[in-house]
Symmetry: D2
Subunit: 367 residues, 4 copies
């Protein structure tokens, strides 16, 4: 057990989540490295000071470079907007500091490509914050598919839908401009990552995308409100996805259904402690989808609670990420999902956007 | 109250369903016309005899022409395979007899077009058997959308998925050959009809279709196991659909979700007596999807039962159809869905098939 | 196949349900006896005339004795209020006519006892209308328990809850007076019958009962709004029940959960086409409640539909009853639930009422 | 922001949960007092050392007295078995140290009474660990009832059911002996506390209790496997409860349904991020139970996540408790649930046990 100084850039939604995770992860997982909240950076000294006090960091700064360069900061978490990811990561890697970067990996596929190069050149730990796939339920889904529990996979449907911009009267905000902040740029990466993790590479796709609410109080929206796609996985499976920020009624619509020749899986993040499994075996009269509550028998659940069905939550996903990031730093081994995995996602998103513009099927190029 | 002699062609799955419906409809709905099970036709005199006895018809015949021509048969129900629909309908209309035809309307868009022409030339009642949209729940969904209860519609997702051919070891049968008997030809019409009924015409679509299990014991499959589509409705709404007969675990996966600016609707035929409605109104803390159990307050429920939540079933949908068919005969008014509505569906299916072959977006032509 | 003349007394909620069932049952089940709607009796000639026309009976009468005595009426269905059951049944049995009587069996345990005596003396078919236990799902639950699929049964919880009198402003009506029309008298019999069918006799019980809304517009309520009980089954299992007509939000709250050493069953009539089964076997990680949709693999489903998950409804339960009643008449065999089964229920209800008044545990006497 | 040294007695299931909570609470809630994991006590020096290292405490001890007396330990958390609660609490209060004690409050009502006296004599913060009622959903339920959202409450049903001893072959362990470790002693307190929090005092009750599996490999069970009760709340409401550790299939069956004249609430901890609310208002056709996903609009949710529906878990409940305990220490104000609240629960449990033995209704005495 050794302490490690953590610097977090950003103290908003995700900056706080990572600060909590770093506070708790050692106790939850008995990690070899024990985080110390060393420094937080924000867009101004004042907000940095506020986050510093609220979350219990030793110091705050209005300049992320100061954080990256600080000798007591031994690992960097990037929880600032996508436009900042690349420059920060470059600076951290240049100093040989491990980086955990929030999704998406940069604001474009070029960013992602450059970030992978920098990460791999530095040789230090690098990881992307795809947290939803970390639930015990979704980890279990991966296991089931890998083990062949549902046979040969014949269908995938995924969605990431929320309704935070469903009301056309919701005022214009930063999420309303820039491709990286639209639905494809901001929400889709989570589900695309899930699709890749569950079924492997996507070979080709055809996308339809649109801005439903073009005008909002305060500004004109220039990015997408929703998108859908049809795709073909490299393994041959047919797939379908939908991404939306105007899905009225959906709060955390990260959901998938996966069908195989011998069974099927259904999952919805709005009931994240359950996974539904169908198996085409045994007498017909007893078949159906089984609602399995996660518990100690499922991946990464036990350290949170000894009782099955007692449940984990959003914050726990980030704690699981922190455990892996620390392990990567400690062991020097690559951890999933690395920047390279983030780049795979970025390439799918890029191709999706191109397909939407051209209105036709496109292959997803391999690097 | 006047008796009417009914002739049903086919005594299998749907032939029986219509025979039951004709037996019960008068008592359920106090119809002006009261059906008399006059005659049943099947592919052989023997099976006709069996159906005749089992269902309680006055007579049976191995020759559908005998049925159509019989003076005591005053209205014809076609519950034989799609390939037979056109010829039978033509013959019935030629004799001025009303026709209720099972879905799809013929085996091709040409069939459908010819059948509409014959129906309209004859001027007698004509109707297509899209029964699922008849549940009190789906009728209520139509009402809600028409009234604007969920605002401007921004998204539609529909599926018709079952698993009767999910097992690759299930032997080859007649559903495994001929486009009209594949997933797009056989299952899709129900959901396409629903989409049209709920949201209006589809302007364009892009389809992906495949045969997952090409070889089965007993033969080589030449039609589609599953298909998916992206579409744009004429009203501007983005849509997505999926059709499958290999959806392991799905028994009656006729399901849709419809999102609007002020609310959303979710329905799944596997829980046909409930509909889920979200309304973006009232305090945030009290919002969510409301599971509404159908009851006397919903369309066509009361005649089946005075108690809410007591439920209707598959057979009741056919009884509701029978009520409308009798009403059309009695009043001479067009009833929904008429052959023309069946043709609209056929055109979408035809365009879908073309899109799948060409691998690109196509417009759905209007006649 | 032989016709049989049916006389139904009562043309309200249940009278109509039985009329529909008698119209459809022959076609659905290919019964040896085929009902003919011969006569309907109501409280006045006018209403009888209305029912006669609406449901398609040959004749109507304001005097139930005329019906019972009519030679063309070969079997009698009692669908009039509980106070009338005994007298009508007596008259029918005296003429050797089979009787299907709506639940409860008479207005008191004395009625029930006398009715059993009359039925058994006559030797003709007799049956009580406990319809809910007839769903394919509940029949399957019976099978599962009988086969030991959930091991030794350790717990039973049942409820029959609805909300038709939940609003204290709902005006006084006939259900508001007379023990036989209160919650214990009117609703409880269904669930008590289910409990007996599923687990066998109840040995003892302790009951709590109350009238929540004593005054209603139009009158003072003299019977119970809700009741609950703890019980011990003769097989040793602990049980719990709840009955309510003021259960706001519950429309058809006929629900039970049954726990055993090797599994558990959950059922709710508000989702009548599904049953939830847990089995304590296989790997821990894959256990959970399986939502089984009823289909052709379950009792009495196939005659209604060939497709699983397509669903049956309230009316279909009555059709299943009709099939059994006809079979009993045809074969002369006792059919479940006979009047004797209705008496078992009546004795439990009677003991429950006594326990509620005395505020203590009472044994349920065996005859 | 000031540091406070925390000593935790017990490092098992709950000892760890509190250690995690104390690590995270400051960052989550920006508390005025910031916990420092000062010392952990266990039943042996070795296990204490293990916990110390794993969870990140400064020191460990095999003697809880050393912990209580340590000057750097400023507040004590008791997470050892019920038999130890009283002695430890007494010692801590004697030194003027605040105590957070896991449920139940001691091993008997005498313990609880003595502990309240000691706590009140000391005048320092005291709190009992009823965590399940802390979810945003259950806190919201309390609010709804208090505000009259469901009108006058007419019915309460609660259960706390799990299946950790459902298999009769599960070997004998400490939970199998001693009233305090049986189902009534161990599980019931959570739901009784919920009942009191939601509806207020229980006036009287009648209980039925049993040991289903008397013999287990390794020993003879002397306490209860399951119990049920009927009760009357002081406000007049009728209630029903069930507690079980042999409820096959139930993992976290902490569930309740509360009915009122204007609405109803349903909650099940196995889906802890949702609460179901029915309101008897608006058009009949749109009524039903609304599944509300918890989010920033609900109590104590926002500090965990800005997104609604993203979910909290078991561990987060303990973090909320820690926040309140720290607040109580800081402000000197009584916090809910205090030892006095724990005593209320203990009195109900005691009366329940007496009722079970006497087999009759008993009043719950007020102190
Ligand atoms: N994994 C997940 O579930 C989620 C991930 N995200 C991702 O996390 C990242 C941050 O998003 P949110 O936390 O939602 O944003 P936010 O708006 O809540 O917070 C952004 C933070 O970045 C800081 N910041 C902005 N520019 C900066 C600069 N130049 N130097 C230093 N600090 C700067 C701001 O002061 C603020 O503290 C984004 O990349 C976003 O895509 C966001 C939400 C959920
Ligand atoms: N609305 C719905 O839910 C469903 C509709 N259908 C439709 O109903 C129609 C019939 O399908 P099923 O009942 O499933 O088929 P089936 O195979 O169960 O029965 C077909 C019947 O048609 C009769 N038949 C075949 N050729 C004939 C001929 N030349 N002359 C007279 N009778 C002939 C056969 O004897 C048999 O009785 C099809 O168009 C199908 O698409 C089928 C199933 C469900
Ligand atoms: N199995 C079930 O799900 C249900 C069973 N029931 C039972 O069915 C029976 C009838 O109840 P509902 O149909 O709800 O009542 P209802 O009030 O709807 O109809 C009662 C019918 O009985 C007739 N009637 C009354 N007194 C008569 C008399 N002296 N002679 C001839 N006809 C007379 C009335 O004219 C009316 O047609 C009751 O025993 C009730 O407990 C009622 C509802 C549901
Ligand atoms: N709120 C909740 O959800 C739950 C509460 N509990 C309660 O928490 C308490 C502890 O239960 P668990 O954590 O499940 O037990 P456990 O068996 O997992 O751990 C008990 C701990 O107490 C320690 N201990 C035992 N005797 C001791 C002594 N004399 N001195 C110092 N340490 C001692 C042991 O070393 C062990 O670390 C009990 O009162 C129990 O009722 C337990 C589980 C869940």
């Amino acid at each position: 057990m050794r302490e490690i100084g953590i610097g977090i850039i950003g103290g908003g939604y995700m900056g706080k989540a990572h600060a909590v995770a770093m506070s708790a992860v050692g106790t939850v997982f008995d990690t070899a490295l024990r985080p110390r909240l060393e420094m937080v950076a924000a867009s101004s000294p004042e907000s940095a000071e506020r986050y510093c006090a609220a979350y219990g960091f030793a110091r705050g700064t209005g300049d992320w470079r100061a954080l990256v360069e600080d000798p007591r900061v031994e690992a960097v978490v990037i929880a600032a907007p996508q436009e900042t990811h690349r420059e920060i990561a470059d600076a951290a890697f240049a100093r040989g500091k491990p980086v955990m970067c929030e999704k998406p990996l940069g604001a474009s596929v070029e960013d992602a490509r450059a970030m992978v190069a920098a990460a791999e050149a530095s040789g230090v730990a690098n990881m992307v914050g795809f947290n939803y796939i970390r639930t015990p339920a979704s980890q279990f889904a991966r296991q089931l598919i890998a083990e062949g529990a549902i046979g040969e996979v014949t269908w995938f449907r995924g969605e990431h839908t929320e309704d935070f911009l469903a009301d056309p009267e919701t005022p214009f905000n930063w999420r309303c401009e820039g491709a990286a902040n639209g639905t494809l740029g901001d929400l889709a990466p989570h589900m695309v990552n899930a699709a890749l993790a569950l079924l492997g590479p996507i070979a080709s796709l055809s996308v339809n995308m649109e801005t439903v609410h073009r005008n909002r109080p305060g500004g004109r929206v220039d990015n997408d409100d929703q998108a859908q796609l049809m795709c073909r996985f490299a393994r041959g499976t047919m797939g379908q996805m939908h991404f939306s920020r105007i899905a009225t009624g959906r709060k955390m619509g990260y959901a998938y259904e996966i069908t195989g020749t011998k069974g099927a899986i259904r999952f919805d993040q709005e009931d994240q402690n359950a996974i539904h499994l169908y198996r085409a075996e045994g007498p017909e009269a007893a078949r159906g989808f089984t609602r399995i509550l996660t518990g100690p028998a499922h991946p990464d659940y036990l350290p949170f609670c000894q009782g099955p069905g007692h449940g984990t939550g959003y914050q726990d996903q980030i704690i699981i990420e922190a455990r892996d990031f620390l392990r990567a730093i400690e062991t020097g081994e690559t951890v999933w999902p690395s920047f390279r995995d983030g780049l795979e996602v970025a390439r799918v998103i890029e191709t999706a956007r191109a397909s939407a513009h051209e209105g036709r099927w496109l292959d997803v190029e391999t690097e």
